[in-house]
């Protein structure tokens, strides 16, 4: 319960208009982009929208004293229910903190507030000739704080890595209101435990991230796109493997299976050659045209060795855009194929990619459900999408079994439950299988020491 007295104190900290408490306003902060069903009990009692770390700190002091649950929130584009306030209390929305605090060109670093949208960080750096590579599919609307809290990945991860590869330091408000600073601009830094990496990917359960120091790299001068059609999924995967083994690293390598291709074809009124079983879209980048051509030639040679049916190297920006439009339209095209889509996110060692897809196909047959598989083949991150109608109880049961078995399949080949979307609520039941009891207990010990009252994002991860 948040009493009127506490509400008044919070309003005094953040300003009256930045603490919303009507049911209809608070309702908007009770869901995210996951398939967690809406529930009345998930509606927060108060939505607090601070503008600075000091305000966050003061709010946390109060919440900690009173034992009020606090769930941080960016843009609620998360796919695992991370920002849903399972125990009501405060939804702490960081979307008003959108400033660039410092741009340090000499050290190629930028310090930003957590509510800045990912694409704005990219654009800000790009305008100065620098590159912030992580590009989750949601980058036009997700916040950088949400990306750090989920350790988000993106299509460029093959070559450039994920969010954590760029986070150099953080300002974090702990559960009791203490403000700490981790990491810093020194590239080499082994002083103490690596708290920066601990908070990155902590899903809002260990502290509120209020400031982020990011490393930038020089912007590649040119990019080009290739699209390849293969008769077998294995051929596509082997092409990617052979390519990486010989040192050709594309910026992205996206794979789509037959079901995914059919979905896009239907959506965009295209025809897919019946001989095609998989498609790979790659982006290469570099500093000169020759650079790009060399990479494209080598990829083509490797693809031909692996029986590629068709290779298209974009000849213009427009052709490149057209190819990418297929990949970008994929998620919604698949979503449109069925009333419900359970879009999952598993990650496996790269060489286990074909095996995992085979296992998923078996699951699809076993449960008589269409499962589209696409993903970031370059880094072993797959998004199997189970197409079903959850309104039909019998089908819903089959779908849930299928999802269980997909996770089991990922673990059986040495993979993990999440490549980029985190655990949140939806994958909680599987975490012990993935980490073992002792592993989960270790996580809980860390949580216990940083948030002894358990007020930060309760009900998540385990």
């Amino acid at each position: 319960m948040i009493t009127n007295e506490i509400k008044a104190k919070i309003r005094a900290i953040v300003g009256a208009e930045n603490a919303l408490d009507s049911t209809i306003e608070c309702f908007g902060y009770s869901y995210d982009s996951s398939f967690v069903p809406m529930e009345t009990k998930n509606i927060p009692q108060l939505v607090v929208r601070p503008a600075a770390a000091e305000e966050v700190s003061q709010v946390m002091v109060l919440a900690n004293e009173q034992g009020i649950p606090v769930t941080p929130r960016g843009a609620a584009s998360g796919r695992t229910g991370g920002s849903i306030p399972l125990e009501g209390g405060i939804s702490l929305s960081l979307d008003r903190m959108t400033k660039v605090i410092e741009f340090d060109e000499q050290n190629m670093m930028i310090t930003v507030e957590p509510g800045m949208r990912t694409i704005d960080v990219y654009n800000y750096a790009a305008a100065k000739g620098l590159f912030y590579p992580p590009d989750p599919g949601s980058w036009k609307y997700s916040t950088i704080g949400g990306n750090v809290a989920e350790n988000a990945g993106g299509m460029r991860a093959v070559k450039y890595g994920v969010t954590s590869n760029y986070v150099m330091g953080l300002e974090v408000v702990l559960a009791d209101g203490t403000i700490i600073h981790t990491g810093g601009k020194a590239i080499k830094n082994v002083t103490g435990y690596n708290l920066t990496q601990l908070f990155t990917g902590s899903e809002g359960t260990l502290g509120i991230i209020t400031r982020i120091l990011l490393r930038l790299i020089p912007m590649p001068k040119m990019r080009n796109t290739l699209q390849m059609m293969f008769p077998q999924l294995d051929d596509a995967c082997h092409t990617i493997r052979d390519m990486l083994l010989t040192g050709v690293v594309p910026a992205t390598a996206e794979l789509m299976d037959r079901v995914s291709l059919e979905a896009v074809a239907r959506y965009r009124k295209l025809d897919v050659d019946p001989k095609v079983d998989a498609c790979v879209i790659m982006e290469v980048d570099g500093d000169t045209k020759e650079d790009l051509k060399k990479q494209a030639d080598r990829i083509e040679t490797i693809a031909h060795k692996n029986s590629v049916l068709e290779v298209q190297v974009a000849a213009s920006q427009q052709e490149s855009d057209e190819i990418w439009a297929i990949r970008r339209g994929l998620s919604s095209a698949i979503g449109a194929m069925a009333p419900t889509r359970l879009g999952e996110d598993i990650s496996v060692p790269r060489d286990a990619f074909p095996e995992t897809v085979r296992l998923i196909r078996k699951i699809s047959e076993k449960y008589k459900l269409t499962i589209a598989v696409y993903g970031h083949a370059g880094d072993g991150n797959l998004h199997p999408s189970v197409l079903c109608d959850l309104a039909k109880p019998e089908e819903a049961e089959r779908a849930h079994h299928a999802v269980d078995e997909i996770f089991a399949a990922a673990l059986s080949v040495g993979g993990t439950l999440s490549g980029e979307h985190g655990i949140g609520i939806t994958k909680r039941p599987y975490i012990t299988k993935a980490l073992g009891e002792a592993g989960v207990n270790t996580l809980k010990l860390i949580k216990q020491s940083l948030d002894p009252k358990g007020i930060l994002n309760p009900g998540k991860i385990w």
Partner: protein, 409 residues
Amino acid sequence: MKNTDKQEQYLKKAGEIVSQCDRCGACLPVCPLFGAKDIEFSSARGKNNVARGILQGVIQPTPAAMAVLNFCLLCRTCVDNCPSKVQTDEAMIALRQYFAEKNGTPGAKYKALGNLMKNRTLVKFSAGALKVLRKTGLNSLVPHGMAPGEFTRKEYLASFAGPAALSGSVPSSPVQLAKKAKAAYFRGCGMHMMFPDAEKESIAILRSVTDLQLVDNVCCGLPHLAHGLRGDFLAMAKKNIALFEKADVIVSDCASCSGTLKHIGAYFADDPEWKDRAAAFSQKVMDFSEYLTHIGYTPRHRVAAKLTFHEPCHLGRGQGVKKQPRELLKAAGDYIEMKDANVCCGGAGSFHMDYPEVAAAILDKKRINIENSGAQIVVTECPTCLVQLNKAAANSGGKFKVMHISQVI
């Protein structure tokens, strides 16, 4: 049909639409309302999920929930940007109808507005209409008191016409097919009540290219449809269908009218009696600049004025008419494209009366974009936009003037 069945029907329709929402959030940064008031319920995601919450019993259909569903410009920017193409505007219209059925009325204000627009005698004599507006407290429809700040074509030519305007140097068009086709003018209530000079120019232009039919039509019904007076909308649609049966083309110089009329066919798709007539009617509707471009009209004059275009939501996103008005303006003056020309001005029917502060915040962004374009005249094709832009012009201290497209071409 029983009233409860009707309620069910509208809820169901909304449910089918909003269940497609993936809750991704792509609509947040693009929704003009979210840009002015950045809390979740302003956005399409917010509203679609309020609807979903009601359908699933997670929240109650309270007046507060209804207010959220009314808080939408119906501008379709979200639809354009949504990866799943969720038709948020249609869901909001269905839900407003649901609430109107549930409450037995759309609320006193919308009813008064609806009655006014239904009443031809009032609309016909704009002076009388303005009196009613004043009486019902709807006079904020009209900028700065009761007189719309209309900049007439005469004044325009007097201010900007150099020798070029007098010489009539624009080459005449080679296309001549429309003279035989019987075009009829659809008289929009907003244009007629508030911008009679512009209406006169539209008619003059149409007369110069076709043997124009003038029909005593009734309101297109959009205000009624948008606020839960669906019955009125359908009744007026039938009247209009019957009235225009002899025309080959129906031309409207109001983007909201032409947009609505083009959709009438869809509203009668399940009505065996009216289906074909309604479809035939809708197929004949053309927007003013769409029609003029189609028949190869060339502007009467070219003047040395810097013109920019504000694209009404119901014209660009609603009908895909984007190129045509710009082409006409390029031939009529020194055309400059402004930033975010297609972003809603905040007018949106009666939205600016219901939420004056939010509408003003949205409009202010528009004003800045117009000022930055350096244009002397901002041109548009919708009376609500004209009202809003007139307010912006006043706020800019007279940096630019506002005109309907028929007054400059």
